[in-house]
Symmetry: C2
Subunit: 608 residues, 2 copies
């Protein structure tokens, strides 16, 4: 199975709007903030002790992800100015790299004697991101200098890790290079890179050289607690985890390795069935930014990092390439439309790193005070333009710039439609047009050309309780398989998109007695700015009596539904009476929260 | 108005049982643990650098409270062995005090050069507790040596603080001496001590010498943020606060100071109406063990210290002496029967310092892990025999030993019955017999002798929605005033004691959508050990259909009521259905929680 890449897809509607904001606002904004903070200048290798803006160990990767986002963008909309910026960075890499191919800002400028010594120092992680950027840039522009530089570096890494075995660790403390090496194999056809990826993956959890993370004292933090094939459940730092699982799925596909796929499936299910927020957020604790126990999904102190949700979507997309099970695209859809998209403001200019499912400003103020007292910090519930560790802004930028990547996969017989975007795609002599207002309306008109004799498999979204598919089809693992007979065929899908209330497994203590309002793939939340009172004083009615209205800025519907507000009381305690006051509750898509300043926010409303 | 003291009251029933446990188990247990930890030996002044058991700044007060409990106990039940232990301590105080009367273990043995330098070092607090102990011991035994020693010390304190003004602070960082000085005035008739108390109280919040606490950076921590008469709401460390307010009420009564009483009333209401747990616990945060904001009453991380609840009851009792308003006795009752009594196990041998209203063992385990990572600690939900800071065990012991203190107050015309205990009291030619199963049954037969021509004022408990009082009476501020005509009169009270559901003001976010089951003065809780499932998976029905059964060990009723359990689910998320499974929920009195090992516990149950 192969993926139809984003460059074969022309977007309209919801995602076209997001692509434009990403191009016109996010990419310039991230550029500006990364310039302000010295991240671009760091490539000059001129920093000296005492200078401001000491390079961080992950700055190479911040710029790499920005370049990757730029590459996808200029692939579709050429832009000579942006290209010149990237060329400048590439020239500096060429100029400042070692003769042996090694390139890393921090470990050349700040700690030149400590190369490949500190497993937790993101050295191979940076190499991976630079490689992804180089590949994207090569595909976008045809310029291969950056690609060659990264091939040289990877060759050097092969020497250090697999020929001489001279590094002080065997596998990176933050995965990323593994999936980058598979991409490099795909791009160059050089099997060495696939082999390197496989060795990094298979060595994890087996090497005595690999010490425990000092941050969270356990090999599970970076998925090194046992060989990857034996891992039963997703564990540890959730971005690290998903990047590893991406590489595992990549290898399983390319090496036709069923047992590796089985491990991937097991890990995927351990997330989707027990460790994922309803928004597709993962990693429920700030302590280690990691998976904890099954069903431990607190809402206000959720970590739920933007990057982790992107990682989950990347993992899910790779799984769709191996086995057509709609669960994968369902999870990708939840993660992308909710947690990941919440990571960037509607303006495209401000970001969340952490995406809680509840914000209570008063509690937050107390937590900040308390953590200060304990000598620690606590996150502010406001979108920021840049973070010290600013991995998320360029990550969401590259996701949106290449969002078309997730739509289709195909093999000789069948084309799979995993998602519904207003779009046109052309690949392998096939043309598919989607006319739809998705994610706001469940009606999709598919016009398919050049597929006579083949099968079109369309995903029935997991959220769709009622759906119609025009014509004859059979269903398997969430896909409706339609035999295409004519050169041009129109297929009409209708997934009834009503507001619905979702509850969590009662084992999720944070959500007991509560429901989340969803509509299609979108999860909704209430903000205090719309509802006036403390949000936990509201309860929503099972009989919603919902009305929706379209919001231009969000490009989505807001909702009003029936509920109650707790009756005010004069005393601190009183005899209970069921005397709530009937009122309407206003909700907006979760992805749009905190776009009107910091406000209380709540996904899981009390059910009346 | 005067109080009838505990020594005039002979107890039966519920409190007789508690008194016996206190005498036979708690007092010996606290003695043993205080011996093990070197607290008694510390009075020998033999500790040297390098020895184990370095004296703490508050050890004098730990032993003082234990002596006070012993004094009350032997006042009623003479015990020569216990008396000999106290005499031994008193001899050591006499032997080791300074010539000028000064006595303090820590500031003689550990930091002799720092006397009256560190405002936060509990020096005057220890003097106060030793004075309370000396008075109690004098009254119990007639032996006045200890009392004289403490008078000498107080005279020296007068010299240092009010004549020479040579201390490095003006008022103690932990109040206690103020109320002790009033007791010393009552005992000796020496007005100087009343004047000293008044000066300490009135100087608070006005002296530039008094620096901010280093623990919680604000003068409000120890109620020094403004002159006490101007303080609008209870604030800061809650034990400190209530001890101050006790002294303020003592002074208002004795000095007939209406404006000081107004301040006391305002502070009392700021607790009772906005800052008190339903159990009578106060001080909602571990950070500063203090009052926070109005309606900020989290259940699982509640501090709700045993000592603070005792302090609240002491404050309330003093307020009852100034103005007969049943609110005071209502609050004292809530605090004593719930939070304070929870501070000691049914066996009398183990204690809680912190009394949360919810225990979730799993969440607790994670908090312990997380706080360790942050370099801090988190309380275990288990009763312990002793604490490093072990103020609570001897405090609950002295409260129970003198519990009869709270029953009656009187003036020339009227006797006030504030509480209902199976008991007999004799004072001023009056005899009152109470026959009642209170707190387990609301029927009370009062037999009153020697009161012809006087008025008996009986409190109608705030919790009693229906009550009958035999004969003619008029009601004012929660008391039924009955004119007594005969030399022997029988009065029958019946406060209908049904299980009832209480809800909190909706501003208390922690309690939204939840209710506490109460019966008479007792608040109930559910324990996992009785209910099997996670307690937040239960919801209780408005129509309780309750049944009760008497538990011998608790000397109280347990309750079963109708409720629902959340239906189990296969998936992490699903469409909401109102499909709870009907079941009974078992509840026990809050004071009896954690007597069968550590278990999940919940006061505020979800309401169906």
């Amino acid at each position: 199975m192969k993926a139809v890449t984003f460059d074969k897809v022309s977007l309209g509607g919801f995602w076209k709007n997001r692509f434009e904001i990403n191009k016109n606002a996010t990419i310039p904004m991230v550029y500006d903030r990364f310039s302000d903070t010295g991240r671009f200048d760091a490539f000059k290798f001129e920093w000296k002790d005492g200078d401001p803006n000491r390079p961080h160990i992950f700055w190479d990767s911040d710029i790499a992800k920005w370049i990757e986002a730029v590459a996808y963008t200029i692939h579709l909309c050429p832009d000579k100015k942006l290209e010149a910026v990237v060329d400048g960075v590439v020239d500096l890499i060429e100029k400042n790299r070692d003769e042996n191919g090694y390139f890393n800002i921090y470990f050349t400028v700040c700690e030149p004697d400590n190369r490949f010594v500190n497993r937790m120092a993101h050295e191979l992680y940076c190499a991976g991101h630079l490689t992804e950027a180089a590949i994207a840039y090569y595909k976008a522009t045809g310029k291969d200098k950056f690609l060659h530089l990264m091939c040289d570096y990877m060759d050097y890494i092969e020497k250090v890790f697999f020929i001489e075995d001279s590094a002080e660790f065997s596998t990176p403390g933050h995965e990323e290079i593994e999936l980058a090496l598979v991409k490099l194999y795909d791009c160059t056809g050089n099997e060495k890179y696939l082999e390197m990826s496989s060795r990094f993956v298979e060595t994890r959890g087996t090497s005595e050289k690999d010490e425990e993370s000092p941050y969270y004292i356990s090999h599970a933090y970076d998925q090194s607690h046992k060989p990857v094939r034996e891992q039963e459940r997703a564990t540890g730092h959730s971005v690290r985890a998903t990047y590893l699982y991406c590489a595992m799925a990549d290898l399983a596909l390319r090496m036709k390795d069923d047992s590796l796929y089985d491990a991937c499936r097991r890990l995927f299910l351990s997330i989707a069935e027990k460790q994922m927020y309803v928004t597709g957020g993962i990693g429920s604790t700030h302590y280690g930014e990691r998976f904890t126990e099954d069903y431990d999904l607190p809402n206000d102190v959720a970590y739920s990092e933007t990057c982790a949700s992107i990682g989950l979507a990347l993992f899910a997309r790779r799984m769709s390439l191996i086995e057509p099970d709609s669960l994968y695209a369902d999870i990708a859809e939840i993660a992308i439309y909710n947690c990941a998209l919440a990571g960037v403001s509607l303006s495209g200019k401000a970001f969340f790193y952490v995406n809680p499912l509840e914000i209570n400003m008063e509690r937050n103020r107390k937590n900040i005070e308390y953590y200060q007292y304990k000598g620690s910090t606590y996150d502010t519930p406001q979108r920021l333009e840049v973070f010290d560790c600013s991995c998320c802004p360029p990550n969401i930028a590259r996701m949106i710039a290449s969002i078309g990547d997730i739509l289709y996969t195909y093999n000789d017989d069948t084309v799979f439609v995993h998602h519904y975007f207003e779009s046109q795609a052309e690949f392998e002599g096939i043309k598919i047009t989607q006319n739809t207002e998705y994610p706001n309306n469940g009606a999709v008109k598919l016009t398919v050309r050049g597929m006579a004799g083949k099968t079109l498999a369309v995903r029935i979204p997991g959220w769709a309780e009622n759906c119609t598919v025009s014509g004859a089809y059979k269903t398997e693992k969430g896909y409706a398989y339609i035999e295409i007979k004519d050169d041009e065929t129109e297929i009409n899908l209708d997934f009834a998109m009503e507001c619905r209330l979702v509850c969590a497994n009662p084992t999720v203590e944070a959500d007991v007695g509560r429901v989340a309002l969803c509509r299609g793939p979108l999860v909704y939340c209430a903000e205090k700015i719309d509802n006036g009172v403390p949000l936990n004083n509201l309860s929503i009615c099972e009989n919603l009596n919902a009305s929706v209205s379209f919001n231009e800025e969000m490009q989505a519907y807001t909702v009003e539904a029936d509920g109650f507000e707790d009756a005010p009381a004069d005393s601190l305690y009183r005899t209970y009476r069921n005397d709530g006051i009937r009122r309407r509750i206003k909700l907006i898509p979760y992805f749009a929260f905190a776009n009107r300043g910091a406000s209380d926010m709540l996904v899981w409303l009390r059910i009346k």
